[in-house]
């Protein structure tokens, strides 16, 4: 269980990215974070694996306060949290296989990773991950030779190498066309349902949110302004929509699908203002 308590992040230039955000994610959820660009979604995700140090507040993951971890403890925490990025963030000049292997760095001694010697178990893992993502035949290509959808699959394969319990996905489909977007999100859904990984994913399109999320939070100007489970997101009111996206926002799309019986966000009391 991941518990965020009063998380605040103020950047050096004075920008307030997160204001006193609190919520809880039970294990095995597919949590989608929605909100405008600049609302603090990326900052929130990066605070969870400490790519960004929060200014105030705590993050408890299985009762360990992530915000106080240092050195090896921090790295051991990070290797249990996979991350997938909007721009894929692959090392473009390295091969697909090297990029995937890089996901294992947290488990490999420095000297062995420098001379590029991974043991057989790791190689097996890499092949399994590539196979699962359906890109086995691309493994010796340079990462920048692949299409966007394939690159994102490499990104997910890299995260899989960490054998994570939690995957953070920062707008993983924002650079992809709708067909690929579904394909990538289905892979994430798969990991969520079959492997029981918790997914925290930021998304822009409401139809995708409705299709894949098991629960949703909304951020606006760094404040938590919306919380809802699958049921609630399917019948999101225009008022709620405008709280998240602003008064001028025009609601487009969105479906009214089958309402899943789902219960999440048990600790949903602290909605800011």
């Amino acid at each position: 269980m991941l518990e965020i308590r009063n998380l605040t992040k103020i950047y050096d230039d004075g920008t307030v990215a997160l204001r006193n955000v609190s919520f809880t994610v039970p294990d095995g959820e597919f949590l989608v974070v929605i909100g405008l660009s600049g609302s603090g979604k990326s900052t929130l995700l990066r605070c969870i694996n400490r790519l960004i140090d929060p200014t105030e507040g705590q993050i408890f993951w299985d009762d360990v306060d992530i915000t106080t971890l240092k050195g090896d403890d921090l790295r051991n925490m990070r290797r249990k949290i996979g991350m997938v990025f909007q721009q894929f963030n692959l090392v473009k000049r390295s091969t697909v296989l090297t990029n995937v292997m890089a996901g294992r760095l947290g488990y490999v001694p420095t000297w062995r990773s420098i001379i590029n010697r991974f043991d057989d178990a790791d190689k097996q893992r890499a092949h399994a991950a590539l196979k699962r993502m359906g890109i086995t035949d691309q493994s010796n290509k340079r990462a920048d030779e692949l299409s966007g959808g394939q690159q994102q699959r490499v990104g997910i394969a890299r995260a899989l190498m960490q054998e994570p319990k939690l995957i953070l996905a920062d707008e993983p489909v924002a650079s992809l066309d709708p067909v690929l977007a579904h394909s990538i999100l289905q892979h994430l859904e798969n990991l969520n349902k079959e492997d029981g990984m918790t997914i925290i994913c930021s998304l822009h399109y409401l139809d995708l949110v409705q299709r894949y999320s098991t629960c949703v939070i909304g951020l606006r100007d760094g404040r938590l302004v919306y919380q809802g489970d699958k049921k609630q997101i399917l019948r999101m009111t225009d008022a709620e929509f405008k709280t998240i996206y602003g008064e001028e926002a025009e609601r487009m799309g969105g479906i009214s699908g089958e309402i899943a019986e789902d219960e999440c966000l048990s600790d949903g009391k602290e909605v800011a203002e």
Partner: protein
Amino acid sequence: MNQKDQSSEEKPSLVPPIAAGLTSLVVPGLGHMLARKFRKGLVLLFVFLSAAGLWVWRVNEAARREVGFAAMFKKAIQLQPIILIILVLIILLYFLIALDAYKSAAKTKPNSFLLWAFALTSFFVLGWQIGEIKPAVLVRDGAKSLPLLMRVLWPWEKAVYYPEELLVGKADVVIPCTPNAEVEPRVLEEGAPYVSVTPGCGNLSEIDGAEGTRLHMVGGNFSPNEETEIWWVDQVRNEFRYRYSGEYVKVVTDENGSFELDVVIPYRVIPSTGGKGYALWQVEARQVASVGKPVLSEELKLSVEKMIETIFLGMMSTLFGVVLSIPVSFIASRNLMSANWFTKAVYLVVRTILNIVRSIESLVWAVIAIIAVGLGPFAGILALTVHSIAALGKLYSEAIESIDPGPVEAIQATGANWFQTVWYAVIPQIVPPFVSFTIYRWDINVRMSTVIGMVGGGGIGYLLIQWIRLLDYRSAGIAIWFIAITVAILDFVSSEIRNRFV
């Protein structure tokens, strides 16, 4: 700037247009300032004053010996009419500035194109005069340099030389004919040049009197079709070249290397016969002939040696430059050095030093290095290394500054440590620009090392400048050819490597 323009358009001129024009005639540019075009007025004042000042200086330069400005001016335009043209341009500029001031004050938005065009033209004509540009001289005298140029362009006559040998054939002549003269018979080696005379004795020519005995001279085994000189050696071994009617006598051998010739025993002060009653002379045929195969000339060998030195000079300075500039580039990268005020200060200091070092040319560094370590390639390597560190340090650090932070973030997120992150996310991104900049620098260093010898820093430049000063244009041409060939190969190789790597 736009805002100021607008505000000046809105605000009316301080003075009427006529007044602006007239004040501009007193002080060019002042009219604009009064018409609330302060900056334009300042620029025009500066333009006018500098043009006028430069013109006065050039008049002084052109007629230095004259006294008084009027006399100088007269002499200067007599010597260089272009000075008068410049004066006319400056006067026109003066009036155009006044006209522009009038227009500016009269609220019409003046079209100042003509004014600026005039100002620019004045400066370009001044530049023509200051640069002492004389195309006529190039056309008239340029042709004189053509023979020298040809020697530089095709210097290969000096690349090889043919070893020469003096071929000598001798025959004894007894003067006067004496039956019992002791003449040792000459032993002829097989194939060696020989000369025989018939008869083998005779009398000397007498001054204003009878000609000496005419001898029939036959020679063989000489080099074919070559000019051959005839020399006499008297009994005290004085050698003198044979003349007939005041002219040196030469004979050209036939295709078999043989010749036939009649010679007359020349006049000589009657020498002592040493009590023997006769003198023993020799007549010789001498031929300077090239023998054997052509061999490479000393100049060519020196050029090759120094060219090799040059290439290695460039290589070593690139190596040192690269090795030393990599650490420098890390502390000169803004993105790595923005952690706190101390690292920012280090960044600023390092960047400033790099800029200063880079702005001093390698040749100047070479002169400084020579003071430190003396003449020779080491000084050149030091100079090029210093310059390479500064240039590469800047290029490398810019490459580091421009890496994509995404992969770094992604590798960090996997739980990798700092070293693994640098190895997997930073290094792959900076290798291509580093390789490309290194090759670029290697290219520059080899080019620079060809001239760094001109100030004594080793390499082929030293030979080149020496040969040019000795007016040995052929040898200089050889050196220039080697430089050109090396640079061409270098260009090819470096672009190939770049294509492979980047």
